[in-house]
């Protein structure tokens, strides 16, 4: 009995020390596999989550940066912010609400927000491209350091990806990362029958 509890304590300590908490995402995506072994950096990542239905959710890790970006967007769209809204926004996870619905969304309690968020998504259509506004604001705040990462599900149709990449190209954002899961490819698979 005692050795088993020793093993349990060891395993527990290992997990506690080596893992990081997952951020709850509005839409769970299954990223495609790739052999690329480049690790995604932890800081200064502006992540774009594209759901299979084409909804776009954005996430920026630093809470202070989030507040600055929010303030920029608010001035562009003539929305005044209360301190509470700024605070809630900075600690929330991904955001994906059009600016028109922002105030009413933020006034909802947190569980309701998490529940309703998958129904929204940032507009990316050409008439109302708020997505470009967010990316531009984030770039203004962070400068050169920030890297853009795109995370989408395996089954997301290419049209939505093309939309997002097109908007990024319009903003001259030409370098970005695509988040994937690791796939092992054996030596013989790699070199074929050479």
């Amino acid at each position: 009995m005692t050795p088993m509890s020793d093993v349990m304590v060891l395993l527990l300590t290992f997990f506690m020390l080596t893992s990081t908490f997952l951020k709850p995402e509005p839409v769970t995506v299954n990223t495609p596999m790739s052999v690329s072994e480049i690790k995604i950096p932890e800081k200064s990542v502006f992540s774009i989550l594209i759901s299979p239905q084409g909804q776009v959710f954005l996430d920026l890790d630093n809470p202070d940066d989030r507040i600055s970006v929010l303030e920029k967007m608010a001035t562009d769209y003539n929305i005044s912010l209360t301190e509470k809204e700024k605070h809630d926004f900075s600690i929330a996870t991904s955001f994906g609400v059009p600016m028109q619905n922002f105030k009413e969304f933020m006034s909802l309690p947190l569980e309701k927000q998490n529940e309703l968020l998958p129904n929204y998504g940032i507009p990316t259509d050409s008439l109302n491209n708020q997505f470009k506004g967010w990316v531009q604001a984030a770039r203004d705040v962070k400068g050169r350091d920030m890297i853009i990462a795109i995370k989408a599900d395996q089954s997301t149709p290419y049209t939505h990806i093309k939309n997002v990449m097109g908007s990024l190209q319009d903003l001259r954002e030409n370098r970005y990362n695509l988040i994937t899961s690791l796939r092992e490819v054996s030596e013989e698979e790699r070199l074929g029958n050479l």
Partner: protein, 203 residues
């Protein structure tokens, strides 16, 4: 009085020193399960990609690529890949060929096309594993090889019916088959005509 005290002292109870460990193990198992479910060990990987600026890529630049080096891939529905080598040929009906993402599909075709460079990369990797060259040197020589004169240029044109995983799989094949020059380009009208003329069920 002395007797009573003596009796009481004699009737001292034995202290029960055995502690039950079972609740401790239960708690630990609960905590462990919580951590296993709520956290993640691995950081997700990324693929880096740079796209050309929108205004720069023109049709003339696309055709500047030598026909011997060019290789065009269309990504269609159902994880299918259609490809042709060299310049587009709208008239010929069977110009466009079909393959898929399996090991003896697109990969073997690309390895065959890139044979020279793949062999050199293999030698380079051998040298790296034998520690004859450093990692930085390996990376430098690898990118030199991939961008060397005469290396193939792959143009990836995803169709609207393809998915994100198709695009990633195509980019992945570029990495696996050591192709350094590739680009993701939108479809133009010539492509649409070619796809319509082909015998494949493409929109």
């Amino acid at each position: 009085m002395a007797d009573k005290k003596g009796k009481k002292k004699g009737e001292m109870k034995k202290a029960d020193t055995r502690v039950n460990f079972t609740p401790l193990v239960d708690m630990i198992m609960l905590l462990l399960t919580f951590f296993m479910l709520a956290t993640t060990l691995s950081k997700p990987q990324t693929m880096e990609i740079s796209m050309p600026a929108k205004d720069k890529v023109t049709v003339e630049e696309q055709n500047e690529v030598k026909a011997s080096e060019a290789f065009t891939i269309y990504l269609g529905a159902g994880h299918k890949v259609y490809y042709y080598e060299g310049l587009p040929n709208i008239e010929e009906p069977d110009y466009l060929k079909e393959t898929d993402f399996s090991a003896n599909g697109l990969r073997s075709i690309l390895i065959e096309k890139n044979r020279n460079i793949v062999q050199q990369v293999r030698e380079l990797e051998n040298r790296k594993s034998l520690l004859q060259i450093s990692k930085e040197e390996y990376n430098k020589q690898l990118s030199n090889l991939k961008n060397s004169k005469g290396s193939p240029v792959v143009i990836i044109k995803p169709l609207e019916s393809s998915t994100y995983s198709d695009m990633i799989a195509a980019l992945d094949e570029m990495l696996i088959t050591s192709i350094g020059k590739y680009a993701i380009v939108d479809i133009n009208d010539d492509d649409k005509t070619m796809l319509r003329n082909s015998s494949f069920p493409v929109n």
